[in-house]
C-alpha cells in the first residue's frame, strides 16, 4: 500500500514538474458566442507566442462573472455585454484601465431551417403558431437581457413571457432551434453561421449597440502571478490587433 502511495506521489510530483517546465498558461473566460472565433484566435496566437498557452473557459457571461467572484483563477475576461463587465469592474476584479470593446454583434430571431413558419415581425410571435420560443435566461445570459429589453419596449414581453424557454447560454438556445424543439429563438447573428439547421427570420434592432468588452483580471485577485498577467495583456493586445480583428470579422463579428 505504502509503495503504491509513494509511486502515486512521485508521479504527481513529476507531473507538476512537467507543468512547471511548460509555457505560461493563460486562462481566458469568454462568452459562449465567442467560442469559435476565440478558439481560432487562440491557435493563431499560440503559433506566434510559443511560450504562452491559452486555455479557454466558455459559458454565459453571467456565469463567468460568478466564477471569477468565487475565486476562479482566470486571467482574461471577455463578456458579451457592458453590464456584466461593469459589475466585474465595480467589484474590483478587472484592470479597468485596460478594458476595451473589441467586437460588436446583432440580435436576430431564428427559426429551424425547414420550418414553414416565418415570422416577418416580432408581433407575429404572439400568434398560436408559435408555442415555444428560446432565449437566454435574462438573469445570467446577456442575449436574454437584450431580448427582454427589446420585447418590453415593443410591449410584447407580457404576452410572450409564458412561451419563453430559457437557456443556460446562447448556444443552447441555438441548439433548441436547430433540433426543432422550439418554433423560434433569439440568438446573435454570429451564432447562425455555426449551425446549418437554422435560418434568420428577422434582424432585431437594439436600442444600444451590442458591444463586447475584454479586460485582464487583476493578478492579485488570485495570487501574484506577474508572468501570467503580462501574457494575458499580450493576448488582449492580439485580440485588438489587425490580425485579431480579421479573425473576428471572419466569424461575422462587427467592429466595436
Amino acid at each position: 500500500m505504502i509503495k503504491v502511495m509513494v509511486f502515486l506521489l512521485g508521479s504527481l510530483l513529476s507531473l507538476s514538474q512537467t507543468f512547471a517546465a511548460n509555457p505560461v498558461v493563460v486562462t481566458v473566460s469568454a462568452a459562449s458566442s465567442l467560442t469559435n472565433a476565440f478558439k481560432e484566435m487562440g491557435l493563431v496566437f499560440e503559433t506566434k507566442n510559443n511560450n504562452i498557452k491559452i486555455q479557454f473557459n466558455f459559458a454565459s457571461s453571467g456565469q463567468l462573472l460568478q466564477q471569477i467572484i468565487k475565486g476562479a483563477p482566470v486571467d482574461v475576461f471577455a463578456s458579451a455585454d457592458q453590464e456584466t463587465m461593469d459589475k466585474a469592474e465595480q467589484l474590483g476584479f478587472i484592470e479597468k484601465k485596460q478594458r476595451k470593446n473589441f467586437a460588436s454583434n446583432t440580435l436576430v430571431l431564428i427559426v429551424p431551417k425547414g420550418s414553414k413558419k416565418a415570422p416577418t415581425q416580432l408581433s407575429d410571435l404572439t400568434t398560436s403558431k408559435y408555442q415555444r420560443i428560446a432565449m437566454g435566461l435574462p438573469s445570467s445570459v446577456p442575449v436574454g437581457r437584450y431580448t427582454q429589453l427589446v420585447l418590453e419596449k415593443s410591449g410584447l414581453w407580457q404576452v410572450l413571457e409564458s412561451k419563453m424557454i430559457g437557456s443556460q447560454n446562447v448556444r443552447q438556445a441555438l441548439d433548441y432551434v436547430a433540433r426543432g424543439e422550439v418554433d423560434a429563438g433569439f440568438v446573435y447573428a454570429t451564432d447562425v453561421a455555426v449551425s446549418d439547421k437554422v435560418r434568420i427570420a428577422i434582424t432585431v434592432p437594439t436600442d444600444k449597440k451590442i458591444l463586447y468588452p475584454i479586460a485582464p483580471v487583476l493578478a492579485e485577485v488570485h495570487g501574484d502571478h506577474h508572468e501570467q498577467f503580462i501574457a494575458a495583456q499580450k493576448f488582449i493586445t492580439f485580440v485588438n490587433s489587425q490580425a485579431g480583428q480579421t479573425i473576428l470579422a471572419k466569424h461575422g463579428f462587427g467592429k466595436p
Binding site: G62, Q66, S139, R179, G180
Partner: protein
C-alpha cells in the same frame, strides 16, 4: 422565497410520479427476475442498472434524441396524440424515473430473492392462485426492502439534475426543480436564494434518508 416553495412542490410532484412509475415497473421486473431464469438475464439486469452508473448528461442526450421532435418516439407522440414531452414536467418525470429506476429494481430484487420459499410453497399447497400468492404472501413479506428502495429512488429522482436540465430545461414554475433552481441562483449570483434552496434541499434529503434507514431490511433482522 415564494419561488423556492414552488420549486419544492414541483420537485416532490416530479419525484412522486417517477417513484410511482418505478414501483410498478421495478417491482414487476424484479419479481420476474427473482423467479425466472432465462438466457441473457444478467445482461438485461446490467442494462436496467445502467442509468445508475451512466453520466446523467448521456441519458439526457439519449432522451433528447429519442423523445425530441426528430426522435422516433417524439414524432410518434406528436403525430398521433399531439404530445410534446421536451420542456414539460412530464418530460422531467421520464428523466427522473429512468435515472432512479435501478435503485428500486435492485432493492426489490434483493428483497424477493432473500425470501424463504416455504411460505409461497405452503400457499401453493393450499391451492392459492399465483396472483393471490404474489399479493398476499410475497409482497407483504418483501415490502420493507421495496419501500426502502422506493424511498432511495424518490430521493434520487428529487435530486436529478443533468438529464432533467437537458430534457425539460429550466422553466420557472413548470420544470425548474430544486436542484435546477440552485444552479440558476448561483449562476445569477443570487446567493441568498441559493442558501435557502440548499438548506431546504438538505432537509428534504435528510428526512428521506432517515425514513429509509428505519425501513432497511437489516434493521428488521436485528429487531427480529
Amino acid at each position: 422565497m415564494h419561488e423556492a416553495w414552488v420549486a419544492l412542490r414541483l420537485t416532490l410532484k416530479i419525484a412522486g410520479f417517477a417513484t410511482l412509475i418505478n414501483l410498478v415497473l421495478g417491482v414487476g421486473l424484479a419479481y420476474f427476475f427473482s423467479r425466472k431464469n432465462f438466457w441473457g438475464k444478467e445482461v438485461l439486469d446490467a442494462i436496467l442498472t445502467l442509468p445508475m452508473v451512466m453520466p446523467p448528461t448521456v441519458l439526457g442526450y439519449y432522451l433528447l434524441v429519442v423523445l425530441g421532435q426528430q426522435g422516433f418516439i417524439g414524432q410518434f407522440l406528436k403525430e398521433y396524440f399531439g404530445i410534446h414531452l421536451i420542456f414539460t414536467w412530464q418530460g422531467a418525470v421520464i428523466a427522473a424515473s429512468i435515472v432512479s429506476f435501478p435503485l428500486i429494481f435492485k432493492g426489490a430484487r434483493a428483497a424477493f430473492e432473500s425470501l424463504e420459499p416455504q411460505y409461497e410453497q405452503a400457499a401453493k399447497v393450499l391451492n392459492v392462485s399465483n396472483t393471490a400468492i404474489f399479493f398476499r404472501v410475497t409482497l407483504p413479506l418483501a415490502w420493507r426492502g421495496i419501500l426502502a428502495g422506493a424511498l432511495l429512488s424518490f430521493a434520487r429522482a428529487a435530486g436529478e439534475f443533468g438529464a432533467t436540465l437537458m430534457v425539460a430545461g429550466s422553466i420557472q414554475g413548470k420544470t425548474q426543480t430544486l436542484s435546477i433552481a440552485v444552479y440558476e441562483a448561483v449562476q445569477a449570483g443570487q446567493d441568498d436564494t441559493a442558501n435557502f434552496l440548499v438548506l431546504l434541499t438538505s432537509v428534504v434529503c435528510m428526512s428521506v434518508l432517515l425514513v429509509s434507514g428505519r425501513l432497511m431490511p437489516g434493521r428488521l433482522a436485528r429487531q427480529g
